[in-house]
Amino acid sequence: MSILSTPDAPPATPLDVERIREDFPILRETTAQGKPIVYLDNAASTQKPRQVIDAISGHYERNNANVHRGIHELSNRATDAYDHARQRVAALLGITDTAELIWTRGTTEGLNLVAYAYGMNNLRPGDEILLSVLEHHSNLVPWQLVAQRTGARLRFLEIDDQGRLDLSMLDDLLTERTKIVSITHVSNALGTVNPIKHIAAKAKAAGALMVVDGAQSAPHLPVDVPSLGADFYAFSGHKMCGPTGMGGLWGRREVLEAMPPFHGGGDMIEWVELESSTYAPIPAKFEAGTPNVAGAVGLGAAADYLAGLGREAILTHERALVAYAVKQLSDIPDLTVLGPRDLSERSGVVSFTLADIHPHDLATILDSEGVAIRAGHHCTQPLMKCLGVGSTARASFYLYNTPAEVDTLVEALHKARGLFGY
């Protein structure tokens, strides 16, 4: 890609970013001092385009009622909108069997669903769960709970100095004891893109269930979920232009059908007696209670928005931006960029440290220039320990960010150096 080979100049991009930015009302916001907000905290949460905001408010203005219950006009409209949203999100992710897409509150709930409904019921003492040291706490703590309850043991893939998984450990770690492999597709802290198809194929060959944390891949990569070769893929809506409190879990039909429910309640049942019940078919079996209807509608609109821009175009834009950012940041004295050096192995995240300036001090100083980054352990404390740092500063990009915003980040980092006497 020619864009990647000439990162010195601000990159060309396949997206009309100036027009796209007009879709995001919040990008017109300024700080109390009148500085434009430069939003580079997209790995934490992305902003919402007008199309998503309007879909949610339009739902409440015209179609709001409970779903799958009322025999009346508004309930029918709400049910149609809710079901339509599932088709839109499924289409974006390449999911052809729509019933395999379960709505959740987000990635964390999706991973917990698998941990509780599958892990707690199927694992025995001596079984093993294979994770990696890259994992977000949400793909670590649920498995710790499963291990504590079932007597299973956690094993970990380690990383090299660029934050890439040591795949040479796979053959040793994958044994007949391995029952679950749960790995992140993209590291939220370093941006490392893991070779998930390769890992999934190995996991399946070892007879293990493969779970993918897709929180950072669904928004950024043109993922065709079923073709990853996994059994589960969890993602969050709010990291892909959708609303908070809304996400999804894709699961292979056979696994979902064999699994007991997670939550019990309304909507997930077929027939209820006082002592026992039968359950609805998937996906309803895993969606107890009144769902987040407006959230689903908003996420459906977000899926349409992303599809409209083009998944490949978004990826190319982000790659160009990350290449430019890595180049510009690397030119700052005493600044260390963490993560993969081969940018084809990196998603839209640039994690770094700057001399002895603590990331929280950096974030405060950058904030005074309107630049929003994340500082800290990024919910990956074991990873920080592996890297030998307490925390990092992280700039993370999305489809509406510009090279000019990278320049503002760089200027703010020079200011931070000045304040710390460099």
Partner: protein, 147 residues
């Protein structure tokens, strides 16, 4: 946030405490050892206190964190050493007032060079950082009293 608040927080005095505190280290025979963490940012310090006849005879801290938390812990140590618990309470309360925006506290000479941290009042997300050392000292007193 005003530029002046930022300049005042990251002034030379604070950077000096951050980079080379004479209270960084560990005590051979501490009477109380308190690990204190800020779960939001992962900053942590280990505070060690030696007490003799009701007064803080020696104090050391180790750990990692931002300039604000580490400099504040260093300044806290400087102010606490040689003081009784009652004297510590008085100054701790005054410091807390200052960090929460009390302008009379920010001018109180009793706080000495800790007044350099008064700008933290304008950085609400950093208040916990400035209080980390004092919170640890409060825990140390509880531990000491319990023994």
């Amino acid at each position: 946030m005003e530029r002046s608040a930022l300049d005042s927080v990251y002034q030379e005095l604070i950077l000096k405490h951050y980079r080379s505190s004479k209270f960084r280290g560990e005590l051979a025979e501490p009477d109380a050892v308190v690990p204190m963490r800020n779960p939001v940012c992962g900053d942590d310090i280990l505070l060690q206190v030696q007490v003799r006849e009701g007064r803080i005879e020696a104090i050391r801290f180790s750990g990692h964190g931002c300039a604000i938390s580490q400099a504040a812990a260093s300044m806290m140590s400087e102010h606490a050493v040689g003081k009784s618990w009652d004297e510590v309470h008085a100054i701790s309360a005054r410091f807390r007032d200052m960090i929460h925006g009390d302008e009379t506290a920010a001018r109180d000479k009793a706080l000495g060079d800790m007044r350099a941290l008064s700008g933290v009042a304008k950085l609400p997300r950093r208040v916990k950082c400035a209080m980390l050392g004092w919170d640890a000292l409060e825990e140390a007193e509880k531990k000491f009293a319990a023994e």
